[in-house]
Symmetry: none
Subunit: 231 residues, 2 copies
DNA sequence: CATCAACCTGAGAACTCGCTCAGAAGACAC
DNA sequence: GTGTCTTCTGAGCGAGTTCTCAGGTTGATG
């Protein structure tokens, strides 16, 4: 099977590298460029399956670029990236069809999730499934819904992201540093105690419904989401 | 099969030598440098499979170096090394994809284990297996779980590291000095009596479940993990 | 068989790590 | 604006862990 091709367009090298590494690790084939002109060229040549596009670029804005791409017959969906303070109307009207947008700073795991969500809606060939189920816990990634033994659980956004990351890596110990870097925004500058806090929140909500604890502490190592049954 | 190539970047010659020797013995092809500039050069030339990178170097910090490497298209995973007292935010945001980090002082066996864990997740070709099984005892290195005849055994971090080291060298006598050097942190300053203590702990937990003792004392020499059956 | 060194093990002191709570600050909706 | 939900921090507590030590046991040696 061919790897899904992602085109990254952002003028900040930091963000480009962060995204490239993270997406490559997630199994995508990545190409990154730094301005609008290169983006148009790369999109024509590379035939990407999805484009990550910074709304404000030095040479062109998001609207011009998408207009140009569409006129060239390139209809790959676009995930727009925008700074938090950029006004909403910069984005409004851009996301047609399967497009979506997210504000910087984002968490790396969230980008992967959003890309998969878009591809799920766009492509007929469903490589990634919206349902992630491990043991007694089930997540619907499209609806952001969580069920434990068919009983709905209400989670905050961060709680949800943490649970998803743990479940994606079920039965594998994750260090707090890894969790912090994947689940929290990339410019988060705090202590790892926050991971402990959120694990505590999750357990309080999940463990009352499960037969046995799902998040295991590996003292001195990290945390692990455990499924009793092979999955 | 080609040996996995490791690039070590640390300004302390002591640490460089320690790591070089240990990793070479573990079967890796090693190249070590002492500053950021050399690291970038070596990474480009040598095409390493994994990079061990001290976060604080005289000429560049970890963030600059990874940024530089990623922008050059080098996406080998990085295992960051950092002093325990360095503030957490030096590390935050560094471990993307399959990266991880560990604090100095570390134990040499732990470094090898972490490298293998990263390569296991990163490379699709699974050269190293997460399961280590000798005789009646089985270790899952991803989950840090230990089983004796399919019965779970709960071990402390040090107990776990000691058992893993013994099993990696099954049917080979290890001196207490060797064990101390590999399992304990490299700046450990205590007596060898501690090895005896931990062997005692292990035996207490393991031997009640095995048909015959698994850790044999070779009086005047050291210890040996014994597997009755060839493995 | 007596002696000595090597080894085993239990007890305990000091410490580290993770859990939880309470509260401040911020985001968001109405 | 006002109230609610959420995020994040810091402190205190308790359990688990590390390490040392001392007394008991084992085994080698002459």
């Amino acid at each position: 099977m061919e790897a899904t091709k992602v085109l990254i367009v952002d003028d900040e090298p930091n963000i480009r590298d962060l995204l490239s590494t993270s997406l490559r690790f997630a199994g995508f084939s990545v190409h990154a460029v730094g301005n609008g002109a290169d983006a148009v060229f790369a999109a024509e040549k590379g035939a990407p399956d999805i484009i990550l596009l910074d709304v404000m670029l030095p040479d062109m804005n998001g609207f011009s670029i998408t207009k140009k791409l569409r006129s060239m017959g390139i209809d790959a969906p676009v995930l727009f990236l925008t700074a938090r303070d950029e006004t909403q109307d910069k984005v409004t009207g851009l996301t047609v069809g399967g497009d979506d947008y997210m504000t910087k700073p984002f968490s790396l795991d969230e980008v992967v999730a959003r890309i998969n969500a878009i591809l799920r809606r766009t492509k007929q060939s469903q490589i990634e499934d919206a349902i992630l189920e491990v043991g007694e816990v089930r997540i619907n990634q499209d609806a952001h819904e969580v069920f434990v033994n068919d009983e709905a659980v209400d989670l905050s956004p961060t709680e949800y992201k943490l649970l998803r990351f743990l479940m994606e890596n079920a039965n594998r110990v994750l260090t707090k540093a890894q969790i912090l870097d994947h689940v929290w925004e990339y410019d988060f500058n705090g202590e790892m105690g926050i991971v402990e806090s959120y694990v505590s929140y999750l357990r309080k909500k999940l463990d009352v419904l499960t037969k046995e604890p799902v998040i295991i502490t590996k003292r001195g190592v990290g945390y692990m989401f455990k499924s009793t049954k092979a999955n």
